[in-house]
């Protein structure tokens, strides 16, 4: 039986496998994998269900925009709503304060109002934006909607989540600012992952790890990796210390993740790291996303992209996890616009752009970002 992408066709495979117990927050996917929700309904659809348990998700930050925080916040909130253990690390002195910025889920009665909004647009249909109209069929499918409500919530970014006391909710926060060689980090991760081991009895509980801005420049260890790459050595350091850092973080973390029922989402500022480290981490990731800033009040972009006023940034999906299967996941579209619908919930949409001249090949080939002003910038579609 051929596996169709749910959003693109009217066939939908019944994935509910009655042999395995249903745990709230965890969905069973094909090939014996399980998903947890990303916290953003659109992203779940794009990735084919959510984040795979046991996978490593890396998000490449853009120095000019804080969109990676939006992804992290929704991810963490979803975990808290489902009562899943959470480990959070950030390069700030007080990581707990970030918990105060997590969004709370939208109450069900507000959710229904999303339906009628698309009805109003029925008057005008734009021919080359035909793909936008496929999704309308699924809104009428009641079954889908109920299942979605349990698995993935829409979050209201304006309302903060009331996080109960730490003990009750299995939330652990720590700061990665000061660890010189990250042994503390390693220990925290291993104790956390020991809570959610993977064994034959089935999935007890799914855990979430969220790490913000790994290897940010203000952390003490960020220079050591740079020396390892061999560029402009100012001081010498022992080879062990140099080599240890980057390889050990991702290899260690990835191997621990595989044998546990947890998902780790790590954001890192790829433009600030040495190219070799950045590439290594990109290859290490099972799912790789990147966020990009867009210029403000740009008339040309406003003409080119519809819905520019609501857009806050771009999300690019580089790689989707391929677990227990040889079949790669090929998406129809890789770049999505991040919009704040009515300023409160996060919506990802495919980019609808005007037909372009095929001869301007630079807009397709290069992956330059809006953040570099000295290079000629072009959007990567």
């Amino acid at each position: 039986m051929v596996f169709y992408k749910q959003k693109m066709s009217s066939f939908s495979r019944n994935l509910a496998d009655s042999r395995l117990p249903q745990i709230p927050g965890v969905k069973h996917g094909p090939n014996g994998t399980s998903f947890v929700s990303t916290g953003i309904p659109d992203l779940d659809k794009i990735l084919g269900g959510g984040f795979h348990l046991g996978s490593l998700v890396m998000v490449m930050e853009d120095g000019e925009a804080p969109h990676h925080l939006l992804l992290l916040r929704n991810f963490m909130s979803q975990g808290l709503v489902h009562n899943q253990p959470l480990l959070y690390a950030s390069p700030s002195n007080d990581p707990k304060s970030f918990l105060g910025t997590l969004p709370s889920p939208v109450s069900p009665k507000d959710d229904k109002s999303r339906g009628p909004e698309t009805e109003q647009e029925k008057g005008l249909r734009i021919a080359w934006q035909y793909r936008k109209y496929f999704g309308e069929n699924q809104l009428n499918n009641e079954n889908n909607k109920d299942a979605k409500k349990e698995y993935c919530n829409e979050f209201d970014l304006r309302k903060p989540l009331k996080v109960p006391s730490l003990g009750a909710q299995h939330i652990d926060c720590f700061s990665i600012l000061e660890s010189p060689n990250l042994t503390a980090f390693r220990d925290r991760c291993s104790t956390f992952l020991a809570q959610v081991p993977r064994n034959d009895k089935g999935i007890g509980c799914a855990g979430r790890i969220a790490i913000q801005s790994l290897c940010a420049p203000q952390c003490g260890y960020s220079d050591t990796e740079f020396w390892f790459s061999g560029e402009r050595n100012i001081r010498c350091s022992s080879l062990n210390a140099q080599r240890g850092f980057s390889l050990y973080v991702d290899r260690f973390l990835k191997s621990m993740l595989r044998s546990s029922n947890a998902v780790a989402v790590i954001t890192f500022p790829s433009s600030l790291l040495s190219p070799s480290l950045s590439k290594r981490w990109q290859h290490m990731a099972d799912t790789l996303l990147s966020v990009r800033a867009i210029p403000d009040e740009d008339k040309d972009l406003a003409n080119l992209l519809t819905g520019y006023q609501d857009m806050v940034g771009l999300l690019h999906v580089h790689k989707v996890a391929q677990i227990n299967t040889q079949v790669p996941v090929i998406l129809d579209a890789n770049t999505f616009s991040i919009k704040l619908q009515r300023r409160r919930s996060l919506v990802l949409e495919r980019l609808n752009q005007a037909p372009v001249d095929g001869s301007s090949g630079t807009s397709y080939g290069t992956s330059s970002s809006c953040s570099s002003s000295s290079k000629s910038t072009s959007l990567d579609f």
Partner: protein, 368 residues
């Protein structure tokens, strides 16, 4: 634009947010970064003096110039020296940064503190906070920090320590805003990128002449340096709270009295023209084309103007009549290229030796 960044620094930080941070960067081709820095410094000072700004004090970490230079500068802008002690503190890293001179132990000026070891950035941070809190006290009142030149700081300390110093300053509850100057060609690109990452506004001074591929002329043109007329482009990238980046461009002129910023009328169009790929067809008509289109007489049965109907079948030319407008040709391939006021359709054949109807399917191959 210079006004908007001065305003952003004046407004300062919101509760629970990092303080706004400005990077001013320049290169050898446009070595006027220091003038821009002093411009921002004077603007913030006047805002502090007139109590319009969130911050009530300015702590200046001086690496490149001595404190007396800054006193002179502010005096020339009309600020009274005596009142300066109420709101200005200078951390003097210029006189004796590495502690080589034994004689200087303290200065006679209470507003100036000499730092003898600029390598120890933790100590530097504590001096800055001490100086700032000395004026505003503990509590909710905030102060601003200006760093004369991060380039000099980077000479003495590692990038990660400088980054953590800036991060600590930004996240401190009592810092309202922070700005610094860096000479970007003195460092690796990584240092400049890190500082841009840590700042919420980046202002760069570029030369007027941009090479076509956008690289900041790596080919050193000796004559271009000599012709540095004190003019250039002031490009600002502002990171807004909603995650978008506001890109602005101005021109600046450096004169005796300081630096002046002029808004360019062409605005943002030039900056981002490479972002837009060319659309395949031009749906817009120019004014002339629109007017001409109105004048074309269409070869339909009813023109709607009450005249006699002339149907042209494409084989013979119309008999010319005085009252009629000039003959029109109808083929599928005709396109409207009109004369002034007459409204003709001109058809240009591909080659002159074609027969009249060769555009249509030739029936030569039919054997009837």
């Amino acid at each position: 634009m210079a006004e908007s960044i001065c305003r952003a620094l004046r407004d300062g930080a919101l509760e629970g947010e990092h303080a706004p941070a400005l990077t001013i960067k320049d290169t050898l081709h446009t070595p006027y970064g220091f003038q821009a820095f002093t411009h921002v410094l004077c603007s913030l000072s006047s805002n502090i003096l007139s109590a319009k700004s969130q911050s009530k004090c300015l702590v200046l970490i001086a690496f490149e110039k001595s404190p007396s230079f800054y006193y002179e500068l502010l005096r020339s802008k009309g600020v009274d020296v005596n009142t300066m002690k109420n709101w200005l503190r200078i951390l003097d890293c210029y006189s004796d940064p590495l502690g080589w001179k034994d004689g200087i132990t303290g200065s006679n000026d209470a507003a100036v503190k000499i730092c003898k070891n600029v390598r120890d950035l933790e100590k530097l941070l504590s001096y800055v906070l001490e100086l700032g809190k000395g004026v505003v006290g503990q509590g909710k009142v905030r102060f601003s920090v200006a760093i004369d030149s991060v380039s000099v700081m980077l000479r003495h300390a590692a990038l990660s320590s400088v980054a953590s110093l800036i991060n600590n300053l930004r996240s401190n509850n009592q810092v309202s805003s922070i700005f610094w100057l860096i000479h970007s060609d003195l460092h690796e690109t990584r240092s400049t990128t890190v500082l841009e990452y840590m700042s919420s506004m980046v202002a760069s001074l570029d030369s007027m002449v941009h090479s076509s591929n956008g690289q900041r002329s790596s080919s050193l043109n000796i004559f271009s340096i000599e012709h540095n007329s004190g003019k250039g482009k002031f490009n600002v990238r502002l990171k807004r709270r909603n995650g978008r980046v506001k890109v602005m461009c101005e021109e600046f002129h450096v004169e005796q009295t300081g630096i002046k910023f002029v808004v360019i009328s062409s605005g943002n169009g030039m900056v981002n023209h490479t972002l837009v790929p060319k659309v395949q067809f031009n749906l817009q008509l120019s004014e002339k084309e629109r007017a001409d289109r109105e004048n074309v007489v269409l070869p339909f049965e009813h023109q709607g103007i009450g005249k006699e109907v002339q149907i042209y079948d494409g084989r013979r030319s119309l008999p010319v009549e005085q009252n009629e407008t000039s003959p029109v040709l109808t083929t599928e391939k005709s396109h409207a290229k009109a004369d002034q006021g007459k409204g003709e359709i001109h058809y240009f054949r591909d080659s002159d030796d074609e027969h009249l109807d060769s555009d249509e399917d030739p029936d030569d191959d039919l054997d009837i």
